[in-house]
């Protein structure tokens, strides 16, 4: 019969008697668990940040770009062929069932002037639906309306970077800015959106009505030409359906035969971003795996100390056997010692890992997120390490011959 509370007491006493050794053994586990938690926190933080950036571009997006022109055998590159029209955008909205909203756009770079300040920025002509497609709320003012599109009104929405560069602290609403020398009234301010995953500043932009961009700013090869069409699918699951429907529809509208090359490209933006997210997940796993190695090394440290301890305490084991300790009494004593070491080490490691990831965020400025799962994982793993690496020394101790153990010098 095994008396658990007493066995635990015996183990604890043995650990207390060898304080320094116990502490050093634990250090291995502390570093291991701490590293696992901190590394996972860095990885989770990074992928969280990327998820946020993906969400900032707008979710479930598909972008339709015109194809390349060929001039005298020289192919001019993606998007050089002006093939997309307002009509295409309207048809996608009307006929593709997997599509939620559509925002055609015609953009270019232009010099913008306010008072004695000027700034070069991307000016995008689009429809009112663009704010919905890109999940982009207004900070103040109003968005443009269908009426603005119809009448090609000279109104604009400013991004935060533009405001900082032209207005400073002045409230821009109602002010007149000149874009390519055409005066525009500022009717709204876009909320801050931050950078794309590739580092572009999304706030360095101005939105104007599509028709205004076509007629007053950039001009078009033919009426109703748009540069790209951004499409929002109904859901993430509907993305590939939407992609197919759009391709079919545009093939039909552009009269492209089965053997002809498409004069447009349909790109699934979210998919690209998900690939980026996927790669950070791989990085998180990698970091975790590297950190696990140190946890493993810590575990081997425990085994090493326990083996030394068994040898050193052979006589003690002999005495215990002589007064009636059974196989499992001895085994449990050493296993409990090992598990206690690794669990206390695990708890200290969690503290070290959490504070370590705080320090990393502070010094490196990285977002770190300590997930409860990683704590649970590291803690239970350290417990397992204790059992696993404690068992062999305990097993060895329990098989000693009582008289040999007693006579051991």
């Amino acid at each position: 019969m095994i008396n658990m509370p007493s066995t635990i007491k015996i183990s604890f006493r043995a650990l207390r008697v060898n304080k320094m050794r116990s502490a050093l053994t634990m250090l291995g586990i502390i570093i291991g668990v701490g590293a696992v938690i901190a590394m996972l926190a860095v990885g989770t933080g990074a992928s969280q940040k990327i998820s946020e950036q993906i969400a900032s571009i707008g979710s479930n997006l598909i972008i339709v770009i015109p194809g390349a022109t060929t001039a005298g055998g020289v192919r001019m590159g993606m998007g050089t062929q002006p093939t997309l029209t307002m009509g295409d955008a309207e048809a996608i909205q009307r006929e593709c069932s997997a599509v939620l909203d559509v925002a055609p756009d015609l953009s270019g770079v232009a010099q913008v002037v306010y008072g004695n300040q000027n700034w070069s920025t991307g000016v995008r002509g689009s429809t009112p639906s663009v704010l919905n497609v890109r999940d982009w709320p207004l900070a103040e003012g109003r968005a443009f309306t269908e009426q603005d599109i119809k009448s090609a009104s000279k109104v604009c929405l400013l991004g935060q970077t533009v405001i900082e560069n032209l207005f400073g602290d002045i409230d821009p609403i109602g002010k007149i800015v000149r874009i390519k020398n055409v005066p525009f009234t500022v009717i709204g301010v876009l909320d801050r959106k931050g950078q794309t995953p590739t580092g572009q500043d999304q706030d360095d932009t101005i939105y104007v009505p599509l028709t205004t961009a076509q007629k007053k700013l950039f001009g078009t090869t033919f009426p109703g030409m748009v540069r790209t069409i951004t499409v929002k699918a109904k859901s993430t699951e509907a993305l590939s359906d939407a992609e197919k429907q759009i391709t079919e529809l545009l093939k039909q509208r552009h009269r492209i035969g089965p053997k002809q090359e498409n004069d447009f490209t349909v790109r699934n933006l979210t998919q690209m971003m998900q690939a980026a997210e996927e790669s950070t997940k791989v990085m998180t796993l990698l970091l975790g795996a590297i950190a696990s190695v140190s946890l493993l090394v810590g575990g081997i440290g425990i085994m090493n100390i326990m083996l030394v301890s068994v040898t050193e305490r052979t006589r003690e084991i002999g005495i215990r056997m002589a007064v009636g300790a059974k196989t499992w009494d001895i085994r449990l004593q050493f296993i409990i010692e090992a598990v206690t070491l690794s669990l206390i080490g695990g708890i200290a490691g969690i503290v070290a890992g959490v504070s370590g990831s705080k320090v990393i965020s502070m010094i490196a400025g990285w977002a770190t997120i300590v997930s409860p799962l990683s704590i649970l994982l590291a803690f239970s793993f350290s417990g397992l390490v204790g059992i696993f690496f404690g068992f062999y020394p305990a097993y060895k101790a329990s098989l000693l011959n009582p008289i040999d153990a007693l006579r051991y010098e």
Binding site: M1, I2, N3, P5, S6, I10, R13, V17, R315, E316, G318, I319, R320, M321, A322, V323, G324, A325, K326, T327, D329, N401, P402, I403, L406
Partner: protein
């Protein structure tokens, strides 16, 4: 039925390629309540025999029946059980756990017998009292004299009410005065509690406390006779 019944016990040690015979077919019986001294020069096999009696070691051949049970039929844990509640050991080197109080040392056999903490403490205190060490319960072995350490060891042997005490040169590390005190204690335990005591000694004045003397030489019993009172 004899308490201890050893039949043709042999023990062979293998030291590398050489086989050393420690015991050549020793047969003897010891009755309950006896006080036996085992004597003999070094290497005569008396300690080997004692270890087999204590189930610390197993014979190469022959049978050892303890209270009629053949110990060869028992497994590791059953032998541990016998050591726990049938036999108390007292060693020359005391063999107390270091850095552990006298009380906890005495409690040790009870711990492996699954006795609850309160009863354990009670029994250990009683045992310590019976060897005359009250007030020293919290002392560690290093804080006790040799005689006191041996008393702790005797208390440990007593605590589980074992019917047999095996003592391997219990006075070997003690001075004459302390030795006689320890021997008086054994005599008292033998008389008052009817505990069977088997002890190994070199010295005839220690053996004189016993009632029967068994002499070993080269792995054989050469004489086995009652103590002649001088």
């Amino acid at each position: 039925m004899a308490l201890i019944d050893a039949r043709e016990i042999t023990k062979v040690y293998k030291l590398g390629d050489v086989e050393v015979n420690a015991l050549y077919g020793v047969s003897l019986t010891i009755e309950r309540g006896d006080f036996v001294a085992i004597m003999g020069p070094s290497g005569s096999g008396k300690s080997t025999f004692m270890n087999i009696l204590g189930c610390l070691d197993t014979p190469t051949s022959g049978h050892y029946l303890l209270e009629g049970t053949d110990t060869a039929q028992l497994n590791r844990d059953e032998l541990a059980g016998i050591r726990n509640n049938k036999i108390g050991f007292v060693f020359q080197g005391f063999n107390l756990l270091p850095r552990t109080s006298a009380l906890e040392n005495v409690e040790l056999p009870l711990l492996y017998n699954g006795i609850p903490a309160k009863e354990r403490r009670q029994k250990a205190i009683t045992a310590i009292k019976s060897v005359g060490l009250e007030g020293r319960e919290d002392h560690h072995p290093t804080q006790l004299s040799g005689g006191q350490q041996q008393r702790v060891a005797i208390a440990r042997a007593l605590v589980n009410d074992a019917p047999i005490i095996l003592a391997d040169e219990p006075t070997g590390n003690l001075d004459t005065k302390t030795s006689s005190e320890i021997m008086e204690l054994f005599v008292k335990l033998n008389k008052e509690s009817n505990i069977t005591i088997i002890l190994i000694t070199h010295e005839s004045d220690i053996a004189a406390y016993s009632r029967r003397i068994i002499k070993f030489l080269d792995g054989c019993v050469i004489s086995d006779e009652p103590m002649r009172k001088l």
